[in-house]
């Protein structure tokens, strides 16, 4: 099954800009479905971005992050063809990971 | 650009007609009984089917019809007859809208 993580990492000079879009319902637990039943909370809690063995960015998310969440940041020290490892875990313990190459 | 005098006038007529319909529908209410509900519901459904033929039914007609059915099922025929009357009025208003729009749509057409 295709990964739930889409990432674009582009290095310009010694700064690498990272954009990530993750496929996830991000249910807050406050929304009712068509039959008026509350949809239980189901959201990504932590996303870790790792480069060269150390975390370059960690996102802690609550129930107010949009569906199919998106985040953008940049860090120094990455260069073309380096690997960037992204992994997320949600409140039900589900998770997914992807290793991408910096363009 | 011709100012749209007809449109508000035509909408005013729409309001008056439906007011008259609701008035007549409600004044015919005696103490509701199952028979009254059946006739009132049948009339409302017939009008709504006619609106369907004209491809212009309203969602509020449908909800009034289901409210009528629910009230009748609960044995509250007064409310059931009232809802059915309301549904008939809404259905008739939608029929009026569909027929009057047969020509009135040209008012908005871009030329």
């Amino acid at each position: 099954m295709a990964s739930t993580i889409r990432v674009r990492a582009t290095a310009t000079g010694d700064t690498t800009e990272v954009q990530a879009l993750i496929q996830h319902p991000m249910d807050s637990g406050f929304v009712k479905d068509a039959k008026g039943v509350l949809i239980p909370p189901h959201f990504i809690q932590q996303v870790t971005f790792e480069h060269d063995g150390k975390n370059v960015f960690v996102a802690d998310w609550g129930t107010a992050v949009s569906k199919d969440p998106y985040v953008k940041f940049s860090f120094k020290g990455g260069k073309k063809d380096d690997e960037l490892k992204i992994s997320w875990v949600d409140n039900k313990g589900a998770s997914d990971a992807l290793t991408a190459k910096i363009q | 650009m011709k100012t749209l005098k007809r449109n508000p006038m035509q909408t005013l007529i729409l309001v008056l007609v439906s007011a008259w319909l609701i008035g007549s529908a409600s004044s015919a209410m005696a103490a509701g009984s199952e028979a009254d509900f059946k006739t009132a519901y049948a009339a409302a459904e017939a009008a709504n089917t006619q609106a369907g033929v004209l491809r212009d039914q309203w969602t509020t007609t449908a909800s009034a019809l289901s409210a009528a059915k629910k009230a009748a099922a609960a044995g509250d025929f007064d409310a059931a007859v009232a809802h059915a009357g309301q549904a008939e009025a809404l259905a008739k208003a939608s029929i009026y809208q569909a027929t009057s729009e047969k020509e009135a749509w040209k008012n908005l057409e871009i030329h």
Partner: protein
């Protein structure tokens, strides 16, 4: 502002954690530039902070102190959100030694929306898309050099369409 029970326990546990991390750092061989701030540096998911209803409690649970507004924190958010489900919000700052950035939506059921750990070498700017229940103040908090700075902007949110 009364500190409710779990708020108090949370802060005590926070301080313990902080102490633990500091102790570990002393032992560890990774040369940390500066002693990590209370909660931000450790990787644990700040469960308590996300449970808080009010903004002030969330900030307290997360950082253990209050923030002062600063024009060095540039918060970018729309005036009227095109839709409360997807509100693009970003923040950037010229402050140095930034270790954490957080976003809070005051009138959401839980104020804390997202919190980001910024290790040394990562630029102090984040863009994300948040959900907003209704018109509310959106606040970005930047933790730099162990102190908290903030910027706030009101974002209007209403339902779209002409109604059911």
């Amino acid at each position: 502002m009364t500190i409710n029970d779990d708020g108090f326990i949370a802060t005590r546990r926070l301080i313990l954690q902080g102490a633990l991390t500091v102790a570990l750092v002393g032992l560890g061989d990774i040369p940390f530039g500066l002693a990590p701030a209370l909660a931000a540096a450790n990787d644990k998911y700040p469960e308590e902070a996300f449970k808080q209803k009010a903004e002030a409690d969330a900030i307290k649970a997360l950082y253990g102190r209050t923030a002062e507004p600063s024009d060095k924190v540039k918060l970018d958010a729309p005036e009227i959100a095109e839709n409360g489900a997807v509100v693009p919000i970003s923040v950037s700052t010229t402050l140095a030694d930034v270790t954490s950035i957080s976003f809070l939506v005051a009138d959401n059921p839980n104020a804390l929306a997202a919190s980001y750990q910024i290790p040394p070498g990562t630029m102090p700017s984040v863009a994300n898309r948040l959900k907003m229940a209704k018109t509310s103040n959106v606040t970005a908090i930047v933790e730099a050099g162990g102190k908290l700075y903030s910027a706030t902007k009101e974002v209007k949110v209403t339902v779209g369409g002409c109604g059911g």
